[in-house]
């Protein structure tokens, strides 16, 4: 019973890789839809998609940790908060350049993820989940309580950042978020999706899957388990912080609830909704969650109940999520 934390995590569903000719159709259609979205939907929905892309980036990182390496973080929202607060501090200091903000957020995420990762990766299973939860709550309590530095429960305001080569002066906020900045974020999503694709198809990605399936065997085969896990934790943290920057832009506010454990739970929910066994599952999950939440909240006060029932159904009956239903044969992360 007490050895539970020190054994490799097993029993995540696996399957053979089957690469059908049509396998690329679904993601291609999905990305085209995101690209065309500001033209086919109103500004409210385009801005929702903007946040959806932010969550999608964060979830790509989280899935490297969970889907590929078998480590379930229940504190990943701390990186969203790191991204959002970095944006807030930099824009308050009149540094509005989005590239600088993104790079700084990534840098801060690395600085935070390396020491935390060094501690967390020694544990797997439930202990990893609890330790990451503890760290995110540590950050939350700092953000919530240290009013003079962090703005306390009111959080910090964020001014609209600006990419280097763009001129926004003729546009209002909605115009920026549904126009140039939307496509900037879309390009970023494509870039980071491609980078993640390269990571998971590299020898490192193979090593991660080996660790997930059987840590001891992987070690015997010469996979450096601890180093691989640390790399994954840091990469996931960087993706989380970049996602956090993007999520915070339309909200215009960095507040401590971003780091709360329920937010981390929601991230894992999105991942499961989209399907953690599929490479594109995180992106689908983020977008569907954001839109579903928006629609539910406008119709009922009790959207959490609906979400809870939905999550329970997914966990019990559809553990491979939406991608598992749409495309049952393609499980790229397995």
């Amino acid at each position: 019973m007490t050895t539970a934390g020190l054994e490799p995590s097993t029993s995540i569903p696996r399957s053979s890789q089957s690469r059908s000719k049509f396998g690329y159709v679904i993601p291609a259609v999905g990305f085209s839809l995101i690209a065309a979205f500001p033209f086919i939907a109103g500004p409210h929905y385009a801005i929702l998609m903007f946040s959806g892309m932010g969550f999608a980036i964060a979830l790509l990182g989280l899935n490297l940790l969970f889907g590929f390496t078998g480590l379930l973080s229940f504190g990943h929202a701390m990186f969203l908060a790191i991204g959002a607060y970095t944006t807030a501090y930099l824009t308050a200091a009149k540094i509005g350049n989005l590239e600088i903000i993104l790079l700084t957020a990534a840098g801060v995420a690395i600085l935070v993820a390396v020491p935390i990762g060094l501690l967390c990766i020694r544990y797997v299973r439930i202990y990893f989940s609890m330790l990451t939860l503890a760290f995110s709550m540590l950050l939350y309590s700092f953000l919530y309580k240290f009013y003079p530095i962090t703005g306390g429960d009111e959080g910090l305001r964020i001014k609209m950042p600006r990419p280097a080569l763009f001129d926004f002066s003729s546009l209002d906020t909605v115009g920026i978020l549904t126009g140039p900045l939307y496509y900037y974020v879309f390009a970023l999503l494509l870039l980071l999706t491609y980078a993640m694709w390269r990571i998971v198809s590299s020898p490192l990605g193979l090593g991660l899957r080996a660790i997930r399936e059987n840590q001891q065997k992987a070690e015997y085969l010469g996979v450096n388990v601890q180093r691989n896990r640390l790399v994954v934790f840091v990469v996931a943290g960087v993706y989380g912080a970049i996602g956090g920057v993007i999520i915070s832009i339309p909200v215009g506010l960095a507040d401590p609830s971003l780091a709360y454990w329920v937010q981390s739970g929601n991230l894992v929910f999105m991942l499961l909704l989209g399907g953690y066994t599929n490479f594109f599952g995180p992106i689908l999950g983020a977008v569907v969650f954001i839109f579903f939440q928006d629609q539910l909240m406008s119709h009922t006060e009790y959207w959490r109940l609906t979400f809870g029932i939905l999550l329970a159904l997914i966990v019990i009956f559809f553990p491979n999520g939406l991608m598992g239903i749409i495309d049952p044969r393609r499980r790229w992360s397995a």
């Binding site: 007490t2 202990y127 609890m130 503890a134 540590l138 309580k145 999550l311 019990i316």
Partner: protein, 294 residues
């Protein structure tokens, strides 16, 4: 001196409640191997139901001496209603990866928040006058201790002693402990695991709901009290050791006293201090202070 006695009493009071909820978390983890994120939600719904029960008792003008039994009974009734069906739901994932178990109980957290909202509304509820009806104990001219705090500490102690007796001395308690050690051998020995699991889970729920009901005279019930408590309960079981009952007691005392001292001395560090301890324990002694070695 005075402040240290105040810290001690309020710290042990919150530790008593925290111990009840964490004991529920521990027994469910020990026997069913499920980390139940929803134990905070049971605590929250227990608190709201306690308000309903207590205002009913006030309407009937029951004497103050009956308030505690009414609260405990309300927690038990609620646990009997909630426990078995939820255990039935969890049965579908006993043999699944523990990540899914965590997520299913997270689904319960989301559901319970709205269930409470449906029945009791979104604004915090409070019962006035009951807390003071129990009077105060005056130790010195400028030092008083609310009697209610002492009563709750005594009740929590009584419940945990009764619980310990149940586990150690009764036949069913022995079956529960045997199941915790090795479920498949117990099944081979014709122990009805379904019954054991159903009883253990209902007991776990009862510890949460009673814990929630008991804080009601002292504090308001709010929608986020559940998700806030689960973080404390997690801290308790990590510090004490996952699955260990004495560990839960020690962990609850550490968390309760740390919180009380921090609120008194330096409020900004209230949560921070607890998490620093949690992380230190995880690093230095990952199985917790009283957790069993591998």
């Amino acid at each position: 001196m005075i402040s240290s006695i105040n810290i001690l009493v309020s710290g042990v009071f919150s530790a008593a409640v925290l111990f009840l909820v964490s004991a529920g978390l521990q027994i469910v983890f020990g026997v069913q191997k499920i980390v139940n994120l929803a134990c905070g939600s049971f605590y929250a719904i227990g608190a709201y139901f306690g308000i309903t029960a207590l205002s009913w008792a006030l309407r009937l003008q029951l004497p103050a001496a009956l308030f505690i039994p009414v609260l405990i009974a309300s927690g038990l009734v609620l646990a009997l209603v909630l426990g078995p069906p939820i255990e039935r739901l969890l049965r579908s994932i006993y043999h699944r990866d523990e990540h899914f178990q965590l997520l299913l109980t997270f689904a319960l957290v989301l559901m319970f928040e709205d269930i409470i909202r449906m029945f009791w509304g979104a604004s915090p509820l409070q019962i006035n006058n009951v807390y003071l009806a129990f009077g105060e104990l005056r130790l010195a001219p400028d030092l008083t201790i609310p009697n209610y705090n002492l009563i709750v500490i005594a009740v929590a102690l009584a419940i945990s002693l009764g619980f310990g007796w149940f586990l150690q001395a009764t036949r069913f308690g022995k079956m529960v402990r045997a199941t915790a050690e090795n479920a498949s051998i117990c099944e081979a020995l014709c122990i009805d695991l379904r019954k054991v699991y159903a009883v253990v889970f209902t007991l776990g729920v009862a510890l949460g709901t009673i814990g929630g009901a008991l804080v009601i005279p002292a504090t308001a019930a709010s929608l986020d009290m559940g998700v806030e408590l689960i973080v404390d309960a997690f801290a308790v079981v990590i510090i004490g050791g996952l699955g260990s009952m004495p560990g839960a007691l020690l962990g609850a005392l550490v968390v309760g006293l740390t919180r009380a001292a921090a609120i008194w001395l330096y409020p900004e560090f209230e949560m921070l201090a607890i998490y620093v301890i949690v992380i230190a324990v995880l690093i230095l002694r990952p199985r917790g202070l009283l957790g069993k070695a591998a």
